[in-house]
Symmetry: D2
Subunit: 379 residues, 4 copies
């Protein structure tokens, strides 16, 4: 390692939680320096925020286009190397596209775009430059999620015949049950938020987790949404039957009206020889089960973990690292990729995962709208 | 209370686990005396078993028909009052039918019959005599399951918009993965075991738990099975989308190949105001969640519980009662009903629940076979 | 097995919880028949209770002395073989003594007597007849407690250097904080309840659990009580430093004012090679920990358990058995002993455990009263 | 907020875990910039490390004295404002003393010094300048630890009559059981590591947690150590009886040989009205118990939490923050104090806590060495 990577931030100003998450994560492993940003569409607020977090204001730009234009005038060794896109979903695509076209690396929040078609266009653009492109499926950075991936890859579960993932939250309850709110909030307006609420916002994380950990591709799905109210236009709850193969099936359950659930992402993977269970809210506990042996509790930092898992732990066992550390692990992988250092498959989700995600989201909507029929995912 | 109820046992001899469960449960509240039985089709083994558990052998009969015939000769005050049917599934119907026709009360293991039609015939027969008829959905006897029912009935959850139940076991793994075993074992032979393995054996418990606790009826379902092998004829895993109303939906997940799972029946019920979560393997912990208050852990025996729940607890809080006690609560309710004492709705599952169960099982098979389409349940 | 053992019950009538526990436990494995009893000092209530639970009243006696006198007139093959003593503590000694002297077997609630001296007298009496004598340290009947014992005996933990046991309850809070109640209730009156409340009632269970599971003897102890109020004469909380050897130490913590705790008996045993943790309120989960391997969760009924543990399980894994089943296991061991059948060390706590318990209780009081000094336990 | 605070680092270079913890924590809330350091006694390694983490090397000094001398030459507005002392324990005192005498603020790892006398000297020095002085009892930064403090301060528990804290680790096992290692490692050499291993390293955290959360002072203690081997000179395990008042008692349990325990700090606080339980390894779960209500699970980020607790949470409920975030909260409080902003009592542990800690450590050693007698702590 040596000189810090020059990072630009798009969005994530003021009280933005995703902004805190990315900013902290970028600082955790001493790899990045924020050199430029458009934190906020309002230029004054933009500048004020930069001052608040003590970032030099000379490269705080008034808008995204200016950022690109001005940075391109700088010599390559001073120019922003990678931009984190934390803006509302519909801006992901145009920003990412322009960044790629101008040779920047990209870290993009999910969903990567608002349509599968846009996602495929980005993929083509990325292929041209070979830029590093990460989609922040944050949860893949947890040491025990990585451990699942490696244990499965090593064959510890045998053939996988069943996967059960869920992402349950309850936060949309106060909005959805209020007629006025549900008809006015941008989150539930398909024109502003895209075609799906529950699947687009959280279901896609569960989908990604399934493919990330198992190494399997979901081939087809059948989905049933719950809109809760007839005048509501967006899914706030849904169940997705999935098929990875003829005899390898499962279910993805998502909800934003699961009252009292906070951020309940969880997965259980059942294989011929053994199984794994993990929950995001207790990220440092991974359960390996079998029909004949005592269940084992894997925890981070122990020598029995895989290299990929151990690489994501900074402290000895028993010192709980959390979601900032998980995101930091993704930023660490991206840093290695940008520097051309050796890194492992699985250190960060790529643009290919982003494309898959959009394919999933669109397919769930299609399945539901056609009356809960099976829809094939493309490869 | 006074004189013990005269109980007959059909099946459940030798190493039968269901036999132990019923026998112990019947003794727990000092209500029943086993006076007659056909524990075993082999008369010698039948007699030997009666001696082993020290039951007088004079009313240990050589077969079911003899039991009925001989008992009918006895004066009513000596005659068996109620029979527990613990035989293989296909015998439930003929036995229950004959018992009802001869004026006996019945406690019947689930599934109550092998077809929905048989179930409806039993219901007609029961209506004629008004006999007490319990189907042993054992899990409804747990104090915290009863507490869920009462809390929901009292409106603590508000409108229920989501139900998520699962019953995961892994025990069939060693059979299903062995080609010879899976083609020879009676459990996976539809001619012997009925039309469904996973849904008939355990899915129906989850179904019953949903209806028992929520007080809602499942109106329609869509089901996808996993047979795991092309040469296997019975479902060993399946996911069922369910609808209780236009905006009240959910999912029932069942598996006998969920490697490492033991007896993983669980339910989560999400309402407008609050939610409940419960797991059979930790039966004395009930979680009530809301979006704004700390999650609450309800435990048995506390004064804050409902009357129905407290009636199912014998010891103070912290003294774990288990599955025998749960079944004993069902036997207690049946005893009260037989004695014409006051008892509450919910003390034991009735023949109506048995009919619903068969309707559920047949509908899952129909849905799957027709290509995962929606099937309506009758009322 | 064959003919049921003739059981007599002393105490435990009406609403007595300990009565329910013993009565149910005695019925669970088809070994005992209650043939005689003095459930209650009031003869009318005694008879009424016998009728309520449908026991023939001809051998329901008006008092203990009559029971012994009348039973001794019966031929040996009809006579009560074993009596369960469930009366208030101060009656344990005279009853047990007389029963032993007349050749009866005894099952005795804890504490076995009110003084160590009485306990030693009982031991002498028992040695003369060789009667079976069990002290109902109920918790030793749990399958996972037995499993701990067997794993330690097999050397899986190596040398044990640390033991940490606790028994925390909160039930005495409403009494102790009320000046009138705490000065009037028999529980806190040393003349009626013996010299110790917390250690005599629950601390002794923790003590027994330490010695039962580890196979070690506690050699000396130092104790500090908390009386909470200057006008209270009995310990309601205390911590006991213990030494099993020069480098093998530990702590026993007891409380009846641990607000919100229900029946919080727990133990952690740390050895050179591995450790074990267990909690009474989740009795079917045993954790084996080591410094280098994932923690393992042992559960009842699996083939990986010891013979002694498996003998205490009636159903397959995942079907939670509870405290009635634990007590039933003790009754099962006693039945085998009475019948002269083969049984294993550890199937029930004996009179020697009872003597140890009194030694412990008296030593804690002595240590505290002398100003928290070390007191040796005799062998 | 505005310009970042100029931070100096002493120690914590290379693979130092405590170095990572402080460095990351200082970056998390955008408050600090590391401007100077002596990461390592070896100047070359010192420089190399600064380059590795991309810090300008012009203020990387060859040793501590040079750092002070050179920084004092700088104008006040450029000079290091606060130094984090992460060096071996015996260096804490001389460094902290000199820093205070030269007007620097100090963040000091625990134990603050190696003796109580040194600690008192520091306190005097700090009083002279009024410098901000934090001792990094990291665990006080957790939102739920803060919540405990505030709930108790608000009287939710009533009078506290019992406190039970533990800090169990197993990491010293491989050293202590090896005769050669235990006689050579600096950790177990009193000349190098100070008078106590277990109490000095971890027991003091438990002590601090008791006083931090309850607001009570521990008045006296009685301690028993376990050295495990006769040739070992340092405590590796110990139990401490504590008294906060005549009727307010408790126990602190510490171990470095609790095989399989990772970083098992936990506390239970029992009050007249309610109780609290918390464990460091699941830091986001706080249990509030009472004798009559369901146990409540408090989690971070909910509006029902206190201001002090909410101030320590960056993300919505269900996004687990961990130990880095806990330390970052302490750094945040220190930043506010340095900037003269309003901050609350409890945002960081002060030098007074450091003095108390040394008083505790010395008292445990004194109690044990004198034969487990009571030792008074000074005020």
């Amino acid at each position: 390692m040596s000189k810090k990577i020059r990072l630009g931030i798009l969005g994530g100003g003021a009280d933005s939680l995703i902004g805190v998450l990315h900013r902290v994560a970028s600082q955790i492993n001493d790899n990045y320096q924020i050199v430029g940003a458009v934190f906020n569409p309002d230029y004054e607020e933009n500048l004020a925020f930069a001052k608040e977090i003590d970032i030099p204001t000379d490269r705080i730009y008034k808008d995204f286009d200016t950022l690109v234009a001005e940075e391109m005038k700088l010599p390559k060794e001073d120019r922003i190397q990678v931009c984190s896109i934390l803006t509302p979903n519909f801006l992901h695509f145009p920003m990412a596209k322009k960044l790629l076209d101008n040779g920047f690396h990209v870290i993009c929040e999910k969903p990567m775009t608002t349509t599968h078609d846009e996602a495929k266009i980005l993929l083509e653009a990325q292929k041209k430059t070979g830029a590093v492109f990460a989609v922040t499926h944050t949860y893949t950075g947890y040491p025990m999620v990585r451990q699942m991936r490696e244990m499965i890859k090593a064959g510890e579960l045998g053939k996988i015949h069943k996967v059960d993932a869920r992402y349950y939250q309850g936060w949309i309850n106060p909005i959805i049950h209020n007629k006025e709110k549900r008809s006015s909030v941008w989150r539930l307006d398909p024109k502003k938020a895209g075609i799906s609420s529950c699947m687009g916002d959280i279901g896609v994380h569960a989908f990604n987790l399934v493919e990330y950990t198992t190494g399997l591709k979901i081939r087809s799905l059948l989905c049933d949404f719950n809109y809760l109210y007839s005048d509501n236009q967006m899914d706030v709850d849904g169940t997705v039957l999935i098929r990875m193969g003829e005899h390898s099936k499962g279910v993805i359950r998502g909800s934003q009206v699961a009252t009292g659930e906070e951020n309940g992402l969880a997965i259980a993977i059942y294989g011929e020889k053994a199984s794994l269970r993990w929950e995001q809210e207790r990220p440092n506990y991974l359960y390996k089960m079998s029909d004949t042996e005592p269940t084992q509790i894997y925890k981070p930092g122990h020598a029995y973990n895989s290299k990929l898992s151990l690489d994501g732990t900074k402290l000895p066992p028993g010192h709980p690292e959390g979601i900032f550390d998980s995101m930091a692990n993704i930023y660490l992988g991206v840093a290695r990729a940008i520097r051309g250092q050796k890194y492992n498959d699985g250190e960060f989700p790529t643009i290919v995962d982003g494309v898959r995600g959009l394919n999933f989201i669109e397919s769930t909507v299609e399945s539901h709208k056609k009356g809960n029929v099976w829809v094939e995912l493309v490869d």
